[in-house]
């Protein structure tokens, strides 16, 4: 299964995009949660403040479907 992860700010560097400036393509075996996917690519989930999929907020337990794009947002840097 393939999912696309997008991130900006300091998360972008941690994500190491390979599709475009913000996006990384990740291939995984079978269904996995967002938390498991981030663990698989060694991205510390503590740096993720918000997970956004199709305009909806999700959490680390969300299981994306094949081809889905998951946007990861870092915390607000203090207003």
């Amino acid at each position: 299964m393939i999912v696309f992860l997008r991130a900006g700010g300091q998360l972008r560097a941690m994500l190491r995009p390979d599709v475009d400036h913000y996006t990384r393509k990740v291939e995984i075996d079978g269904e996995k949660t967002v938390g498991e996917i981030l663990n698989y690519i060694s991205l510390d989930t503590a740096h993720v403040a918000l997970i956004h999929v199709d305009g909806r907020m999700k959490d680390l337990s969300y299981r994306p479907s094949d081809g889905q794009t998951i946007t990861l947002q870092p915390p607000v840097s203090g207003g």
Partner: protein
């Protein structure tokens, strides 16, 4: 008539000086040298306050100045060039104070032809400043005096016209509550350092501005090309859509998960009922629509309503993160409607929701510990999670009834009155209440509060992700990051543009400086920008020492809870700092700034920043820093890139 600026573009050209005691209004050409050397906004405010306000002036007296300053980028074609700064000697901290707001007032002031308004004296009767392009008047505000901020603005718009931009104070400012704010655009606040109290002390209820002119820029073609590229890039940025949907409120849950969310007056950092007050709850239960400031396409503002049984349904902007934390978990609230209602209440009475939340939380803990009782509260209780209790207490504070008088000066003054150990959990530094992050498991954040030039505040330096990346129990090395952030972040408050495009959408400082040069015709680089910001920081420090007459280090400590109490619950349970770690951070910070170990700037660093006049002044009172054994660092503050980069 207003004066046009001949050389520096980006300026409106005219500065107003108003003596509120006599009613005299004078127009001067804007001092371009001041703008160039101090960058307008916060920088110009700092220099004018330093030069003109007597060191023994009462912050709420006639000698204090109240300055409004729209920076050189406000109102220009630049992302979110919407800000306007307010400054005076702070009645909370007794030092330089400045605060800013978004909305539309800054651009309107520039469009009317004015860069700054400098007000002195005290009006003999309630008045408001009326600006309609060239027409500038002080008008009678008796009809508006006593109105809540959110009530007053629509009334004034009805009286003057919908196209007037209006900023008001509420009863808190009128009554001299030292953490009063200024409100504009139904929910944009200049909240910090008690600027609303200074307005109130001057009997100035409101500012109403209509501007129909424009602002000349140095190179419109290059500015347009440059900013258009920025706009296109940010439109596809991954952070844009979530920001547009949730604003800053989504961050509550993250803070809770990562053990920095102040809960029940910073007793712990974990709120068990977070789902009721987080960003998703706000969107689901309260959101009406989105809202943006002038020149912004992020629309992070949220128009909402709060519906609570037994209360009138109220409409407001917010709660944003800080209010959500400090009037939510920090007061033991569990429902977003409670938080939104308290947000509306504090906005309307005109008190800063951050300091206001801190003051109510401190009082609730005093009640929890039996330091104040129902006898002190007119028969009421003051329990965690009770909107009714909080509302009654706020009314006591706003009207300075009974024990409310103690709290009208903020937590530090209240603790000095209450005593009995309450000082250790009065969560403030230099008299200003902490923002919505607990620093016990984020040492750089605590150092940010301790060393902030206007009292505890997050927007000068925010380091929590740095703390996470570098090790949350490690204090070494934090100082250089804090100093760097204290240089870059206040630049936005000088230029009066929103910081979020840098912080959240990856616009680099170099890109902003490039736009600044296209607007003004200046030729500066980021190194000069940072050094100017450092100059402002050091001047404000000297000003604080000159007014408060003790070694700087004595003012830089947080309350003892910060090292005496470990976090008792949640993911940060058992974590905390020692006093020795706090001392070490201060040692590193002072050395990194070129200050001596007493926290006083040395002549060498002040000379390097062209602040010899300030060195002479602090030397006269015995507070010039001793020379550093190895000289001052060549670069103060280090541009931070986390290890992951």
């Amino acid at each position: 008539m207003a004066y046009g600026s001949a050389s520096s573009r980006g300026l409106a050209g005219t500065t107003l000086r108003i003596n509120l005691t006599t009613g005299e209004i004078r127009k001067y050409p804007t001092d371009e040298k001041l703008m160039r050397e101090w960058f307008g906004g916060r920088g110009a405010i700092a220099k004018i306050l330093y030069d003109e306000v007597p060191r023994d002036a009462d912050p709420l007296g006639p000698e204090n100045l109240f300055i409004i300053s729209a920076g050189v980028m406000s109102g220009c074609f630049i992302p979110a060039g919407a800000k306007i700064g307010f400054g005076s000697i702070s009645p909370l901290t007794n030092g330089h104070g400045d605060s800013n707001m978004g909305g539309h007032l800054g651009p309107a002031l520039k469009f009317a032809g004015y860069d700054m308004v400098i007000m002195s004296g005290i009006s003999p009767k309630p008045s408001y400043l009326f600006i309609d392009d060239d027409k500038v008047e002080l008008r009678d505000a008796s009809r508006y005096w006593g109105m809540g901020s959110l009530e007053c603005e629509p009334v004034m718009k009805k009286d003057l016209g919908e196209d007037f931009e209006i900023a008001t104070i509420g009863p808190a400012g009128e009554n001299g509550i030292r953490f009063s704010c200024i409100t504009h655009d139904f929910g944009r606040q200049a909240g910090r350092t008690g600027q609303g109290a200074v307005m109130g002390s001057k009997k100035l209820k409101a500012i109403a501005v209509r501007g129909t002119g424009g602002i000349k820029v140095h190179d419109l073609d290059k500015l347009t090309e440059h900013v258009t590229a920025i706009i296109k890039r940010t439109q596809t940025h991954p952070n844009m859509a979530p920001w547009q949907k949730y604003g800053t409120a989504f961050f509550i849950d993250w803070s809770n998960t990562n053990a920095v969310l102040p809960t029940r007056n910073f007793q712990t950092t974990y709120c068990e009922d977070i789902a009721g007050i987080d960003g998703e709850a706000l969107v689901e239960k309260c959101l009406i629509t989105h809202k943006a400031c002038f020149g912004c396409w992020m629309n992070c503002g949220k128009y909402t309503k709060a519906v609570l049984p037994g209360k009138q349904t109220v409409y407001l902007e917010g709660p944003e993160y800080e209010t959500g934390a400090l009037c939510g978990s920090n007061l033991g609230m569990t429902d977003i409607n409670q938080v939104a209602y308290l947000n509306w209440l504090m906005d309307n009475v005109g008190m800063d929701t951050m300091s206001g939340g801190g003051v109510v939380a401190f009082a609730m803990e005093c009640f929890q510990r039996g330091l104040i009782t129902t006898d002190d509260l007119e028969g009421h209780t003051l329990n965690w999670g009770s909107v009714e209790d909080a509302e009654h207490f706020i009314d006591m504070v706003v009207h300075r009834r009974g024990i409310g008088e103690y709290f009208s000066g903020g937590t530090k003054r209240a603790a000095e009155k209450i005593g009995r150990g309450s000082e250790r959990f009065a969560m403030q530094v230099k008299g200003q209440e902490m923002s919505g992050y607990d620093g016990r498991y984020a040492p750089g954040m605590l150092l940010s509060y301790m060393t902030c030039d206007i009292g505890a505040h997050h927007n000068r330096s925010w380091t929590i992700t740095v703390d996470m990346a570098e090790g949350r129990e490690k204090v070494e090395g934090r100082a250089k990051v804090v100093i760097y952030l204290q240089h870059i972040r206040p630049l936005f408050d000088c230029w009066c543009i929103c910081r979020l495009f840098w912080g959240e959408l990856d616009i680099e400082p170099e890109e902003i400086v490039e736009a600044l040069n296209y607007i003004t015709g200046w030729d500066i680089d980021t190194a000069e920008a940072f050094k100017t910001s450092e100059k402002i920081w050091n001047l404000v420090r000297c000003h604080y020492l000159e007014r408060n007459r003790a070694n700087g280090r004595t003012f830089d400590y947080p309350p003892a809870r910060s090292w005496e109490d470990k976090i008792p619950s949640g993911p940060g349970a058992g974590k905390g700092l020692t006093k020795e770690q706090i001392e070490l951070m201060l040692d590193e910070y002072y050395a990194g700034r070129g200050w001596d170990n007493d926290g006083n700037p040395s002549r060498e660093v002040l000379h390097d920043l062209a602040l010899d006049f300030a060195a002479d002044n602090v030397e006269k009172i015995g507070l010039l820093g001793k020379p550093l054994p190895n000289g001052i660092p060549a670069v103060r503050g280090e541009r931070y890139k986390p290890k992951a980069f």
